[in-house]
């Protein structure tokens, strides 16, 4: 049985918001709404760091950490359990989805979601441009909507938009029930957390922190399981490089090593000569 999940390496995340923007564009998310957000931990405001600049020759303490957050597609999803009309449901592949034709806008699911992952269309949704963006039809006023793991792409063997467009290779999507998948290997090999574990929701999004993983460089839009020649890092634990920044590879991009595949590279290979 397939059970899709996401690993986000917070050591790789650079807080660029590419995931948030690509999600919005791919899924035709209305103005003023976000399904996918990069929360920040640090200073008093969303975009200010904690700590201070180096002064008087001392060392600075500036620090800001990123917490990418969207629907966690929980195994024990409270939102699914409270929906009186079964509009929110779990697909056979583990993706929690909303049937917008069934949703009556009671917002019980929003109250039950510990992750604040859902948004409600209070007004008639507005898109820019008016005809919308991406490959997903706009949802009507009066319904709740949220991240779908880009199920319309997954159904076609493609990775979610946020995964494909992460320039830091910090997001890895795959089958948690496949022991050979990169997501499964990373969950086994790295220290990972789930958000608000005490709630017992068992999210399918796992966060790596502490030690940076090699990520999973995108060789195409395709999901790992659809590729004939996947990243060698997913072939076995012994293949995971200990030097995750690839400092001896000669590439400034670190994780972008050569891919011998006929797939078109989605992220251009990074040439040597610095990263500026």
């Amino acid at each position: 049985m397939t059970n899709y999940g996401l690993v986000i390496d917070q050591e790789r995340c650079i807080g660029c918001q590419a995931c948030a923007v690509s999600c919005k564009q791919e899924n035709n998310v209305p103005m003023g709404q976000f399904w996918n957000r990069v929360l920040t931990e640090g200073g008093d405001k969303i975009d200010t760091p904690s700590g201070g600049y180096p002064e008087d020759g001392g060392s600075g303490s500036l620090d800001m950490e990123y917490q990418p957050t969207a629907c966690q597609h929980c195994e024990n999803a409270p939102c699914v359990k409270v929906c009186p009309v079964n509009a929110t449901y779990t697909r056979d592949d583990g993706i929690v989805e909303i049937d917008y034709d069934k949703c009556i806008g009671c917002r019980y699911c929003m109250a039950a979601c510990p992750y604040n992952a859902r948004v409600f269309n209070w007004d008639e949704p507005e898109q820019m441009p008016e005809e919308g963006t991406g490959d997903v039809a706009a949802r009507p006023q009066g319904v709740v909507e949220k991240c779908t793991f880009c199920s319309h792409r997954v159904d076609e063997g493609l990775d979610p938009a946020c995964v494909v467009n992460c320039p830091a290779d910090a997001r890895i999507f795959g089958d948690l029930d496949d022991e050979g998948s990169t997501v499964s290997k990373y969950i086994n090999e790295y220290e990972t957390d789930q958000l608000l574990e005490d709630r017992g929701t068992d999210p399918k999004t796992h966060y790596i922190s502490g030690e940076m993983s090699p990520g999973r460089p995108q060789t195409s839009d395709k999901m790992e399981s659809e590729l004939d020649d996947v990243s060698p890092w997913s072939d076995g634990a012994e293949d995971v490089p200990s030097d995750a920044d690839g400092s001896d590879s000669g590439d400034s991009g670190g994780s972008h090593h050569s891919i011998e595949s006929d797939a078109d590279p989605h992220v251009p290979a990074v040439g040597s000569g610095g990263d500026d």
């Binding site: 957050t69 359990k81 409270v82 009186p84 779990t90 917002r107 039950a112 510990p114 409600f120 709630r199």
Partner: protein, 80 residues
């Protein structure tokens, strides 16, 4: 309009106020939604079974929504 920056990971002691705010103005029973949300988390962390949860709210949901299509319905549960 939602505040794009509003969503966050809510500390448990602040959750109830936030959930109440989400349900404010809803056409349905706000108190029922809050109680169900609270108990749904109890189901997730194993304090309450799916069947107990289903039975606890079945009548109220029928009265409020005219239907109860939750997936928590235990086998052999009598809808009537």
């Amino acid at each position: 309009m939602n505040d794009p920056q509003q969503p966050r990971l809510t500390p448990i002691d602040e959750w109830e106020d936030e959930a109440a705010a989400m349900l404010d103005g809803v056409e349905y029973d706000t108190d029922l939604g809050l109680r169900m949300a609270r108990d749904a988390i109890r189901v997730s962390n194993g304090e309450l079974s799916d069947a107990e949860f289903h039975e606890k709210y079945h009548e109220e949901l029928l009265a409020e929504f005219g239907e109860d299509e939750r997936p928590t319905k235990p086998e052999g549960f009598d809808d009537d």
